[in-house]
């Protein structure tokens, strides 16, 4: 089962390696990992997506909590949360398909942020399903390159995790 784990960590060098190493040392794959500073510049938030049975994920979370540089670990999977991912897609845009392409981009409420004679770069934000659906629809046009940020997530409501 897919789990979204939100980890608040000290904003120091080596912490990312410690967290990632904890997964790799146990042979668990990280599907996505994103890191950025929080409102407190000494704290970073990592959003990690991993898959595994509940017992394995529970172990991973316990192990994460054991790290001295880890301040708080929350498994958002069982909670009400929002998640978003951003992607940049460089797609073939020959003149004859441009209007069709722009229609799709419009339906997804995404933006073209670079136009070249034969390609667009499309910027899209959304949850995992939306990003995957967009990629699927653009694939027949010929995708040249993709850059995805990985997921960021937060629990809903006014309760603050930090």
């Amino acid at each position: 089962m897919k789990h979204i784990i939100s980890v608040l960590v000290e904003n120091k060098f080596g912490v990312l390696a410690r967290v990632a190493g904890l997964f790799s040392a146990r042979g668990f794959n990280i599907k996505s990992l994103s890191v950025g500073e929080t409102i407190d510049p000494t704290v970073s938030r990592m959003t990690i997506i991993s898959a595994g049975d509940d017992q394995i994920i529970e172990q991973v979370i316990k192990q994460l909590r054991r790290l001295v540089d880890v301040i708080k670990v929350t498994d958002l999977t069982g909670e009400d949360y929002v998640d978003r991912e951003m992607v940049l897609i460089k797609v073939n845009a020959e003149p004859k398909v441009r209007s069709e392409l722009m229609q799709i981009i419009d339906i997804f409420r995404t933006k073209i942020i670079d136009v070249a004679p034969r390609s667009f770069i499309v910027e899209a934000t959304g949850d995992n399903d939306k990003i995957n659906a967009l990629i699927d629809l653009l694939r027949p046009f010929g995708i040249k390159e993709i850059a995805r940020t990985g997921c960021v997530a937060m629990s809903r409501g006014s309760k603050s995790k930090k």
Partner: protein
Amino acid sequence: MKKGSEIIVECLERENVKHIFGLPGAVLCDVYDVLHDSPIDFIICRHEQAAAHAADGYARVSGKTGVCMVTSGPGATNIVTGLATAYMDSIPMVAFTGQVPTTMIGDDAFQEADIAGITRTITKHNYLVNDIKDLARIIREAFYIASTGRPGPVLVDLPKDIIHSKTKFEYPEKVSIRGYNPNLKGHPKQIEKIAVKLSEAKRPVIYMGGGVILSNASREVEELAHMLNIPVTSTLMGLGGFPSNDKLFLGMLGMHGTYWANMATNNSDLIIALGARFDDRVTGRIDKFAPDATVVHIDIDPSAISKNITVDIPVVGDVKEVLKHLNEEVKKRIKSKPKRTEWFKEIEKWKAKHPLLYGDGKKGYLKPQWVIEKISELADDSAIITTDVGQHQMWTAQYFKFKKPRTWLTSGGLGTMGYGLPAAIGAKMANPKSIVVNISGDGSFQMNCQEIATAKTYGVPFISIVLNNNSYGMVRQYQTIFYKKRYYATDLDFNPDFVKLAESLGAEGYYVDDEKKFIDIFKKSLKSKLPVVIEVKIEKDEKVFPMVPAGGSVKDILVD
């Protein structure tokens, strides 16, 4: 303003460090220059691995944090095994490593190694100091982290320019780390639940591990066991935590544990695990382990709970703190001490079925089990025993009668051959009045025997027994049992002359092949002011029994 080197030494003095085990290196010269005028003793070892093991042995005996200090690059990589050993057995240790100047880190400079990266998974925490202003805080935190919660080794990597540069010195009296708050007291509701379960249990067993020793909880375990008449079994790491001459003691459980300890655990209806982690060497096949038991687990490390075995009543907290509370709860509830006649009768039957026995030896050879029983008899109750890893380690665990905590030093988790001799040096330094005996095999002994020279240099006498079977005996035993005696890579047909080797390193050396001679020499050695090596000839085909094959269950136990 103080130099980095002065800050390091002053912090160590404030942490009450008396001994540092280490080896020199040019990067750390400035620190030695300050140590020159410090009351701290720097014990120069002959190999960095040994320095780490000596600091580990020192910590296990004293209960204090062991300290080692080595140079950058190869000095640092050489302590990796020592750190991993301490990490697996949860031993408080702070290791200092020299490092190339911060400006050269990552340049493949001479004697550079990314030791923080290398040791990330075998230390409780580690630091690369890259700002002199953080130095005092980091050292303070390192000692705090190493010795609190589930103890473990912490590494501090010291770049040369940090050691040389200056800053205003402030020693942080308080440590505050927002991500690190070990929980000592157990949850009261959970503890009450255990007390209720205990009053209902018919066939309970206490299963204790190294956590009992680390948290100094022996007295509380004894109190609980005697109040409720519960038999006690121990892991390899827990030996000494409960007097082995107590009638409630079943001996060690697990792969080479006693038949009756394994049977009792497996047939119990309630297991109280204390500071133990349900290691695979204890449980064997997980799905066959103690099928009818309610499992209570008390441990300071939340990640140890339900890692291998699903636990019914977990309590996160320091074993000593939790037991104090639990014992109070039990006292409130018991009206009379349960007799458990049926349960003990059953255990006696198992004891009678497969007792720990060994036959007579051939002429010219001694029985290792006999040797260990004799040592147990001739050394006093506070004698400290260290071992290496292999058959000799298991015979010692089976036949030595440990009576006090912190008298048994062995590499349980990592299984490090070469641990025993340097650990004996650390042990003797921590407790100079105690008799220290290192029990080793011919294979293990050769892994760190150079340290006899260290012992001689510092006037640290201890007895090192070499049970010589001219082989890597435990692996040979595997080949005998599981590989149809197709021996490979296990013969040590050429071994050094251990007597001459000992003498050349400044020790007394003896060769023994008969019982009377052993008793005489051992008695004499107890009084020696020098390190002593006693080589004891044992048969190549001597085996460790009982044995539960790896991955098997108690039903698969081999008894001879």
